[in-house]
């Protein structure tokens, strides 16, 4: 966290979320802590099943729908000049006022994230009128203004369009318009560009960056794409098997990672420009094995079974998050020996 700002906008401490499944209890998020200072972007990276989406749904308190429960931890939203909101202990009605108003969310599937039988204008108007006392006509004006803001051409006529009349990129813009219509303090973006083509992805990333500056909001950006995270994040949290294994400033994570999993991830992606490097190997470095079974997690370090640096001690106890640099932590007892 930056030392200049007083309190970060979002504080998550010791978050634990689990799901009951037929095979047993899955601890999808297990002791996750991070902060997001006002106006900054935290990128959360991890592979499928790492718990990154469950973390975001926990912050929105939307895990119960999927059969999950938040078992422990603190989720605190500190809006400037207002008392802190303790999200975990909020009653459901107050929570609904936080959702869409203080914290908004956009999702991966732009094609199915909108109600197909409502016009896009009505879906923005719904969000506006839920959280602001305005007339329908005013809300409609606001909807048109939002559509213009997210770069939809001819918003006055498109406001009455239905989702099926728009392309995937356009629908994701509409989703962003809905999410930002109430000027949230925090935007959670869960893989918002994964389903989009590269050139459209570039447009959406630019849009999120531009609007973040204009509105001054913080962003929690979840992705599996290390390239996207390098581009959009100020800080990065790397998740593995339900835990944050490393967290730090984006440059430190990419140039001096201190967790073997982060190193493995960075090395396993083909580097752009490899073709002009005659020394580049046609073989990629890989992380051996597979992520642990979520109902039978290793007792010690969860990455130890796949880790090239693992020693007996790693299996004995779960490692804490060691401070490894300025605002940089890694969950590895051998962190001084880890290098890229």
């Amino acid at each position: 966290m930056t030392t200049t700002s007083a309190t970060p906008l979002l504080e998550v401490e010791g978050l634990k979320t689990s799901f009951k499944t037929s095979r047993g209890i899955v601890k999808s998020v297990d002791d996750v802590s991070f902060v997001i200072p006002a106006g900054t972007t935290l990128g959360v990276v991890g592979e499928s099943g790492s718990g990154k989406s469950v973390t975001s749904l926990s912050i929105m308190r939307l895990v119960a729908r999927g059969g999950g429960s938040i078992d422990d931890g603190v989720i605190r939203l500190n809006k400037p000049g207002q008392p802190a909101i303790d999200i975990r202990n909020l009653d459901e009605k107050s929570m609904r006022r936080v959702r869409g108003n203080d914290i908004a969310m956009i999702f991966q599937e732009p094609m199915t994230s909108l109600d197909p039988v409502w016009s896009i204008g009505d879906q923005i108007i719904e969000a506006v009128r839920l959280h602001q006392k305005v007339s329908r006509a005013e809300a409609r004006e606001k909807a048109i203004e939002m559509l213009r803001l997210v770069g939809i051409p001819a918003p006055e006529s498109r406001v009455d369009d239905f989702p099926h009349q728009l392309s995937g990129g356009m629908r994701q813009r509409v989703m962003i318009a809905i999410a930002l219509s109430c000027r949230p303090a925090l935007l959670i973006a869960d893989e918002p560009t994964t389903a989009l083509d590269v050139t459209i992805q570039a447009q959406i990333l630019n849009l999120i960056r531009r609007l973040q500056k204009e509105i001054g909001m913080s962003v929690l950006f979840i992705t599996h794409n290390l390239g996207v995270v390098a581009e959009i994040a100020d800080r990065v949290a790397v998740m593995y098997a339900g835990q944050v294994v490393e967290e730090g400033p984006v440059r430190a994570i990419f140039s001096a990672p201190r967790h073997p999993y982060t190193v493995g991830l960075l090395k396993s992606i083909p580097t752009p420009g490899s073709s002009s490097n005659p020394m580049a190997s046609r073989k990629l470095d890989t992380i051996g094995g597979a992520p642990p079974d979520p109902v039978a997690l290793p007792h010690g370090c969860r990455f130890a079974p796949r880790c090239p640096l693992a020693i007996d001690e790693c299996q004995k106890a779960p490692p804490p998050l060691f401070p490894v640099g300025e605002n940089h932590g890694a969950r590895c007892i051998r962190w001084p020996e880890v290098s890229k």
Partner: protein, 333 residues
């Protein structure tokens, strides 16, 4: 929309054309000579030949078909020799009774299914859901005539709550639509309306239960699909209350695909129900047709095939137009 309607009407004409050929051919393929039936068992060959030529049965088949079509659209649907009157006037007399029964059965099934299914899905109770599934399973399996007999035994014989098998009850003084309940309402006679409804209740319910179970199944499956759509998560993330999510978003989405099934059910019900009408002595189309078949009165059966086709096409056209109004995905394309 105009294009869409033209296309639908075009295909409707083709379907009616097909049905007319079917009606024409099936009855020409029946071994019994209609002329002999009409002339009676003791008629001699001369008389039969005379009747045959009167009916035009000695002309080539395609000429017969052409005559048939021309007179059909001229309002001459043939002559029922067993009733001694034109088929069309018989159908005009009988249709309102079947239509009224069908409409009430349809309303009971549709409204009941939507109400029960949506309530159960909103309450999200596993126990109630299981009960609903069992109910729909049973109601699809029970034959309506059996149910009709059961209703009569329980609600008429044992409890005496409803009238017995006496048909539609007293007719209203003035006829506007031929539907007793509506005509009583137009006349402002509410006790007459109640009596008519009282007579309708048991046969309509007996007919409604099967379609009810079918619609419950369909709607329940749709709701389960829609509830898991990503857009529902988005609505929660927007802060929309569960009641609004359920009734303003999930329900319309789940309801739309059931319109097609609803149309089919209505068309089927409008064609009359032979057994239930028989049991309740209901003066409808079903009774007319079964008598026509038993007496080999082919003009009646032929007219019924055509009528069923027209009803089926009419209702489907109505459903398509309805989709055009309520479903934006159809409206705009």
């Amino acid at each position: 929309m105009i294009n869409f309607l033209l296309a639908r009407i075009g295909s409707a004409i083709i379907t009616i054309f097909g049905a007319s050929i079917l009606a024409f051919v099936i009855l020409r393929a029946v071994p019994t000579n209609p002329a002999r039936l009409i002339a009676g068992p003791f008629a001699n060959d001369e008389v039969i030949a005379q009747v045959t030529s009167q009916l035009g049965l000695d002309k080539p088949l395609f000429v017969q078909y052409f005559d048939y079509i021309v007179s059909f659209f001229a309002g001459d649907w043939g002559f029922s020799y067993s009733a001694g009157q034109p088929v069309l006037s018989q159908i005009v007399q009988r249709l309102p009774a079947s239509a009224e029964l069908a409409l009430y059965a349809f309303l009971f099934a549709f409204i009941g299914a939507v109400f029960v299914t949506v309530l159960v899905s909103f309450l999200a109770s596993k126990w109630l859901d299981r009960l609903l599934r069992l109910l729909s399973f049973i109601s699809v399996g029970v034959p309506p005539f059996w149910l009709a007999l059961l209703f009569l035994m329980v609600f008429f014989e044992q409890l005496g709550w409803f009238p017995g098998p006496v048909g539609r009850g007293p007719a209203p003084g003035s006829v506007h639509t031929g539907l007793f309940t509506i005509d009583y309402l137009i006349a402002g006679n509410f006790s007459g309306f109640a009596t008519a409804l009282h007579h309708l209740a048991l046969p309509a319910l007996a007919l409604a239960l099967g379609p009810f179970g079918y619609l419950v199944r369909l709607l329940r499956a749709n709701l389960l699909d829609i509830v898991n759509e990503p857009f529902v998560t988005v609505l929660h993330a927007k802060g929309v209350a569960p009641v609004s999510t359920h009734f303003q978003h999930i329900l319309p989405n789940a309801f739309l695909p059931t319109l097609t099934a609803g149309g089919l059910i209505l068309a089927q019900l409008l064609g009359g129900s032979v057994l239930v009408e028989r049991i309740f002595v209901w003066p409808g189309i079903g009774t007319l047709v079964i008598d026509g078949i038993l007496r080999q009165d082919y003009a009646v059966v032929q007219a019924f095939i055509m009528l069923s086709a027209i009803i089926y096409i009419g209702v489907n056209l109505l459903v398509d137009i309805l989709y055009g109004y309520v479903d934006p995905r159809v409206r705009r394309s």
